[in-house]
Amino acid sequence: MTGSYSSSQSLTRERPVRAILFACRWCALLGADRAGRERLDLPASFRLIPVECAAGIEPDLVLRAFADGIDGVAVLGCHLGGCRYNEANRSARLRLFMVRDLLDIIGLDAGRLLLSWGTAHEGFQFVAQVRRFLHKLEALPVVDPDLLQQREKSYGR
């Protein structure tokens, strides 16, 4: 649920979506590369950051991205049981599930953090995954860093 955050926001979009994709270089990055080679068309509103392993993504990094006004973060790792680093993606998954819970608590839609394991290995899968995610983000209001800050102050720390 978007909670009080969405109610205080107008639903008109004053800027395009800003999305970050963290792609595991053993899996989703291959899908991204494949999509490029096949020249599959995608909206230009996402930025891809290749990472060695999805496990290297700190919860802090994700939360700060939202605080900076990023609308959505996707973590695309390898399939569970097929991690290059033994079982590292499983622990990444557990950790990032907690971040999703946190997003719900602070009133940002948990769907803004996409976790996907082994579903972007092929070009067409990557493209479908990204299109769906961007489409979802377009339906949500923009993340306004100032508003998040105001809300943080209003908790009266």
Binding site: R15, P16, R18, I20, R25, L30, A32, D33, A35, G36, R37, R39, L40, D41, L42, P43, A44, S45, R47, L48, I49, V51, E52, C53, A55, G56, I57, E58, P59, D60, L61, R64, A65, D68, G69, I70, G81, R84, Y85, N86, E87, A88, S91, A92, R95, P145
Partner: protein
Amino acid sequence: MSGVSLAILCTCRDTLKGTLHWRTIEQEIKARRPMTHVGYLPSLCLYEDLDRVKSLVEQERPRALLIGACSPFAKGRAVLDKLMTVCEASISVTLVDLREGCAWIHTGDPRGASAKAADIVCMGLAELEHRQSVRLERSAPEQRVLVVGAGPAGLAASEILARLGLEVVLAERLERPGGLLNQIGKLFPQNVSSEEFLGSLLKGIDHPATTFLPQTTVSRIDGDPGKFIAHLSRSGDEESLTVGAVILACGALPVFPEGLFRFRALAGVISQMELETKLKKLEADRTSPLEITSAVFIQCVAARDEVRPYCSTICCPTALKNALRLKTLKPDLVVTILHRGIMAPGKALEELYRHAMASGVFFHLYDPAEPPEVAGRERAESVSLIDALSGRRFVFTADLVVLSTPLKPRPGVAGLARDLGMRLDPMGFACGREPMQPLAAPVPGVYLCGAVRWPVPVHEAVDQGRAAAVKAAVFLNGGNTDRKAPGAGKAMVLSEACGGCGWCIAVCPYGACRRAEDGTSVISPLRCQGCGLCAAVCPSGAARLPERSSAALRAMVREIAQRSLP
């Protein structure tokens, strides 16, 4: 050296200009990072452009060099590798993908694509600003290999290692070498005598450089690749040994079908392993007659079920082999094999199967939902089954019922696998780096072969042992020490910031994080594979990947958030 960064963008023979507006991109880069020089070259993948890069670098003397070209999986990686050889080591170099990752997927939106390209370049520059490198100090590896387990795989590995001039320590849990070979009489598919085969393998370890340690178990292995410390225990005595590499060849255990098909309840119901021992005795002493008239084999007992959902691969050929051995001992014996599909792949095994059929062995398919039933009072008398193909009920007289059971992983492997940073599959077999390097564990200097990976026929175990030995020898020769992708970093811990909570030690898949004497964590760069798990869980930010720290990732994210172009 100046604080200038150099961004060299490959225009891919001017094919990208329809989507990427180079001038807009350059303006945006300059606006955000005024200290950046932007240069263009038409085709970095050709050698003449590399020379131009070299002269540009010499002219600008940059602190950091960014290459904007195609995907690393296209030509990017090769370009980067070439550049690393031309540039000084003090310049940090990175590659960003502007073709597959931008121009080619946003052809319909040149404005968006150009903004994205500028972002990608700025993200790369931001990353370079935060890059530090770790120097790897590597000492010469110990020219000694520990082979765990003296089964066919371990023996074959030891032979090759000794022939390659390496010192070998072969640790065996039991008194005699040979492993399961000692319990088998003949080997499929060529029906070679296992004693002869074992004899030839044993000749291989009769070498001055090879030490065979019987009744020795490996309780723990720590240390780093090139200098592993193996703790061996031999009848209560503890001993530690420094070895350069470890070959895990400790095999698997046969399953006994307790409580299934009236095993141990009726005389004459035995497991395939027991039949092997029996046949070995009978074949050695041909005077004692085989006092049975009919034998029934039941395949896939305690295998391919919920507990062990795997095919043990060796039981079908073993059953074919033993059915033929029974037929040889007593040609009028009625032998029936009840199976769930005979697994006999390959030329030799297919021939074995055909040979068994031609020799009059009967085959019936059964459905695991309606398994055969063994009947009898004190002895096994008959086996009834519903044939899965015809649906008809058959009752076979059976003086001997042989239950084909799979091999299961040794429970002790789990401890060693944890020490060596190796993954176990859900069944408990050890995993290498499938599919490309199945005999090598993720940690360099650790290899595995034989049934510790998965049940294998003896000749394949031998092949794997030899292959693992060659890999270990290459590793100890200084080649292939680090199979990690170039450019990806190793983790380290800032001991001043470390609170000693031990989270990194708990999560590290490779046993690379350890506790130092002062309670803080240290990371062994030789074991580390750079996944970044330790950095992600570290509450104080002490554990980090210096080449791509969280600060670098953070700077990249900020770069995206603060962009001015749409």
